[in-house]
Point group: D2
Chain length 439, copies 4
């Protein structure tokens, strides 16, 4: 089938392949969104008199057929069709003749792809939030279960002060809950409908943009038609930034787990079902999924960087550079959602070796507690007490780690984790999901 813009000349074949790139494959995940957008657009065209009721019904039915085909994995985009929009319009024209040729009235592929990607991102945010919720619950359960299990907290990789696995899990729980705020913030910004902005400059028909925005469940119309196009890449950056913050958390969690399960530490034990071996060394059981999460966090940061840089020095309006924003977007979404699930599975399976953790409590770990003790008991100024203890490290006595961690009861300390606040926030995580289900 011909391209939408065909007008009597052919493209140089190598350059055509270069321009098409992976789009026929990448765009498969946009088919459903493209059709939904087209159904809303057709309804609007019908309302303003461009389509008859009958034409609208035909188009709607054909578009729903494409959605079914796509859900079954049988809708394809031919290489010479360039992209999802062409494949869909060609399908409609093959099936409905003249009626198919009317669907593109008053829109451009520019606002179509904007709409497709916007709908995709909205769903991905909900999906990512759901995965964050799952991991948060696992972290909360882990924190509850390990509230009284101490380990030597460290700074600079060196032993610092008594900590607990409850504190450790609670830290990531709160961090992910903050990430969920970023996801929500991203959702609120991109929940504006770009459809009708056409090729960045609107159209001379009196289209009803509110109707399409409502039909697609957007909170608002993205008003300025030039801004709609200028926001391509920008909004992807906002979402990927939120995803990269999640990946940073997972990477830190993975880094801790890899370190604490090194044999000399042995504080954590990974089940063998997570640990592939070596092709050469028979004894090896390696924390590979954790290492991959760490590496993939760099990949998602690279996705963010690519998007920001692609759009950084572009003039206003659509530029073909935007095509290159799809690959990093899809990659970042898939990677983050999968990594969240993997971390959830690992956390469910990982074991804390309490005895090993207790063995780690050498005397100097209690030095700071001793300093504060002297202040309370003898009224020595802090800096004085600090120097005394520094000089008498060898005579420090070991305390009971469990008692120690439970005795620290100020807000957020090991004896007062405040998990109930997180509990409340976890409950609120399904707000976006509910919102979307109502649509």
């Amino acid at each position: 089938m011909s391209k939408l813009w065909s007008k009597g000349y052919d493209l140089q074949p190598f350059i055509e392949r270069f321009m098409t790139g992976d789009d026929p494959k990448l765009d498969l995940r946009l088919v459903i969104y493209d059709c939904r957008g087209s159904i809303a657009h057709a309804a609007m065209l019908c309302k303003i008199g461009i389509l008859t009721e009958d034409e609208y019904e035909q188009l709607k039915k054909a578009l729903e057929e494409i959605i079914s085909l796509s859900e079954n994995g049988t809708f394809t985009i031919a290489n010479d069709e360039e992209d999802v929009h062409t494949a869909v319009e060609n399908f409609l024209t093959r099936k409905l003749g003249e009626t198919g040729k009317k669907i593109h009235t008053a829109r451009s592929r520019n606002d179509q792809i904007l709409t497709d990607v916007r709908l995709y991102m909205r769903d991905q945010i909900i999906l990512a939030t759901k995965q964050v919720e799952t991991l948060c619950k696992t972290l909360r359960d882990f924190a509850k279960k390990h509230t009284e299990i101490p380990y030597v907290g460290r700074t600079h990789y060196q032993k610092a002060m008594p900590s607990s696995w409850g504190l450790w899990a609670g830290a990531f729980l709160e961090s992910l809950l903050d990430d969920a705020e970023l996801l929500k913030g991203a959702y609120q910004i991109l929940d504006q409908c770009p459809l009708g902005s056409a090729a960045s400059y609107g159209v001379s028909l009196l289209i009803d943009r509110q109707l399409t925005a409502d039909a697609l469940g957007f909170a608002a119309v993205q008003n300025n038609v030039l801004y709609a196009n200028n926001s391509r890449g920008k909004f992807e950056g906002i979402l990927i930034h939120a995803l990269s913050q999640i990946m940073l958390d997972l990477s830190k969690m993975a880094t801790d787990m890899i370190l604490f399960s090194a044999p000399e530490m042995g504080y954590l034990k990974l089940p063998v079902a997570f640990c592939p071996g070596s092709s050469l060394m028979p004894q090896k059981k390696n924390p590979c999924p954790l290492e991959l999460i760490r590496a993939k966090s760099a990949a998602v940061t690279a996705d963010l960087f690519q998007i920001l840089e692609t759009v950084r020095a572009l003039p206003s309006g659509y530029n073909r550079d935007f095509q290159e924003t799809k690959r990093p977007l899809f990659h970042a979404c898939d990677t983050t959602v999968d990594s969240l699930e993997v971390m959830h599975l690992i956390l469910e399976g990982i074991a804390v070796d309490e005895e090993a953790c207790l063995r780690g409590f050498t005397n100097e770990v209690f030095a700071t507690d001793e300093v504060l003790n002297r202040i309370q008991q003898n009224g020595v100024p802090f800096r004085e007490a600090y120097r005394q203890v520094a000089e008498q490290l060898d005579s420090l006595e070991k305390s009971d780690p469990k008692k120690n961690i439970l005795a620290k009861i100020h807000i957020g300390a090991t004896g007062n984790l405040g998990l109930e606040c997180s509990e409340e926030r976890i409950k609120n995580l399904n707000q976006l999901r509910n919102l979307s289900e109502k649509r």
Copy 2:
């Protein structure tokens, strides 16, 4: 004066200088925040009985003295003092003797710097929001003034369809208003008080973290003490991401302005007061500030990248790597705030050459309007009308650009810019500022 951790050995001099780096200079902008944090901390120590009322008053007075010195630019940090915290504690000990030695009770430099930077970032967000507000008002005025001034909108650097300078300014106005949401979102996430988290593991005294959080005007305590330290760099990343989105907008605006003021275009005229010349070519008047904004947007993206990468593979708890997050943070804040002001000044001074803009309207710019015209008048299907016009481009007639842009009246089009919605949003921009002034 000695370092806080001194205990009888000296550091290798070259390595000491390497570790101190630019901190004595960089930390100058944290002095006031460090003192405010210390005043709140001292008040808390007084309440829980570590300090007497008298000691607290002495400390408060001395810390307020440092604030005055800092505001006058006369407080300095010696190279061998390493950082702001050491300089302040040394000042207190010099001045107050034993009382000074008590200020560091139940805290670490880790939570101190977290608090300092948190307070700094909060102020910077308010400052940046204020600058965004200024530019938004200038954009709104520009849009209003130029609502009826057409220019040829473009995609791919090629002539596309009729546009207007009102639409152009409105696009950036809405984009910056969305950026302000990012700033606000960043504010809400980082408006949690890390003080009292100490060296990531809390302390054995029953400190009152709510008291210090309230005294410093934070919306909440950052609960989990390990999370407080894990969020170093993370929160900086959230803020710098918001700043980098602002810089992307300014860079796109600058790119447009540079292009449209190239002599062959001549649609915009920059006042000479913004345009340095060449040392060699007598005729040159160059759009240097715009080019610098474009380049600085890459620098702020690099700041973001540096921060994200620095923390990406760190284990939990404080690591010295965090020291390197200050430079990019300060740079990103300064650069964005200054760039916003420069863009505001330029936009106030730049002139649209209406005649040149009108000359740009060659016939083909109206091709799309003609397509839609045929659909409305003759009921031709869109794709058909598109092909007809494509074949008859030579016989296209030119329309009146002004009439054209004003006749497009659907939501967000040139004849219906919807500036009143932005007006409302501009008004809400001072919420954060008001919040802060109440503190």
Copy 3:
């Protein structure tokens, strides 16, 4: 078939899929290299008595069969085989029984993948250099053909001084020749054989690493076995940096072409065969391949960044993070090679509109020449002459642009392009290729 490290436990299925990722597909481009490496390894095992002559011959034949299958596109890697190494060893064991089980003696997948990727990179450098050579010749021809065609050279997007299309093409020619030096430098560094380094720590057999290095045509053995593994990612970074420099050149060239073919300039004309249209606007012919090259240059820079960051904070020895280095490596190689070909095709087809170029020469373009003229004729000091001309810009006279550009004859100026030096360097570009063909 089972995994190489199977030892009686299964991996958690979701995590297994996560770890395998796209490897079965990505690794297809390594099959041939993996087999070549195995043939060399088998020859060595035979020489040191681990394999009999007959076993070696069987293995060699089977490996050559895999190479044939791979060349025909019929060798596949099953998802549960994880990677190319497993698929190949399984093939050998299925086909040859016990003999197949011997191939992995004294090696690890760690040095195998190092060798595969090293061989791949070596070939890609030769391929990229060949494409650079093609484009250099096109640039040279373009420069020769357009030596006497002037256009207004610019700085800051503003008109600066007379230039020529010969100078323009010559600039990129020399830049690409410098890039070729980077490719050559990368080749020389990575032309060391890592085979035999095993899992980073060598083996207890007296393997002959020189034999395998020679058999694979490497200039040297990569000596230290730990360094071999530490160089994973590092060497990829060196290659991708060279590729990113090529992409930067292509991006600048594309930026110039896009700008100079904007309708108000019209100095360059792109053939329609390179310019897709718009789905909405019938008149559009867009410079899409150039925009994509510009965007893809950001993508290759992102590949570089991803690689550098992935390895930045890893400890010595193999870490699973390395798996993530393959995707950006393959992407950067494919993208650069294709972009070079596209730019070559475009440069062959693009037309200079000489008349439009001449029209661009407004009087002020000659201001600097007038300054230097006054110095020579009247002995006025430069800064004086500069100020005189700056004040008398309106009375400047226009000169003949052609005469002007040909009269500038110092080294490297428009009248003395020095293409003969580049000619010599182009000839030397086939050195690497010859080297490789001799292998």
Copy 4:
């Protein structure tokens, strides 16, 4: 004093400050190079008759005076002078009157800054190479001294196979020697003189570019005048890439050292003179310089990224964006040179705890050796032996680690480090230095 391009109008003060930025401070490190370039330029102007012998001598003397002032730290650049070029020309005009006004004949600040930065980078490469040489010697000495000291080599943070500290140091030695090749490659590419390219388009005087290139000790003239300007940023990127590869090596070395000196490992001991303490915890001695090196490696990668992105989408010729390339260049050079020195000092002071290292050798570390043993002794196929040993891990016997590492004698293994090859390469590192000293 006035600006070089002054022609009767003032810049808007805020914008002027924004444009000047930190240049008056940053440019101080270019003063000497700027003067050297001007002396060469003046000699050339004299030869072609623009300056008299006397004028040349006066200029040379004044420029040498500035060099002296700069070496004494007493040459300053006023804020309203913008940059080093203005400050130097103003000095000459103040001192020499009309003669000073002649110095800028036939050049632009564009080729001046190119020359300054080129000379700076050449010196920095020599300096960095010298520091690499120092560290290489320290690594060689460390490797020699620790050839027979075993530790448990690891992959995936898990125990893998016997290794030695000799092997460890040798790995970084060879890596740095490869980095030195990158530095040398960078030197060779940027050893071309851009002076005389003026504002990207040459000049109408018959200047003698070979003379200035020779006078400044460049290997060649950078021929094409437009390429000279297009290479701004590009060449900086080539150098910073080489520096970032050095930083990656140092970061990996630091990561190893931090890990191996964690208390549970204790294989390495850092002298206290490298380890600051904590302000709160009396027992702490932290590996801060190593953590800072790790963090600074991210900063240098960010410098690289900033440079590449700044120039990525610029059109040909000078653009003001280039000004922003100086800050990351200077930062990357300083950081790398200092980090190399710090690593050298640390490596000289660090101690290996041999007993702790030996304690680390648990039985399974010898599993792979046992596999290969069975192959040699019983002729079992590798994959068979691998599975046998995997099943019998509990009955593995421990070997003597020292004997083990010394018995591995194939190329590059622990018993055959091949340090003599590195020795040879270390000797060749002074080639660049010698080259420069001859100038």
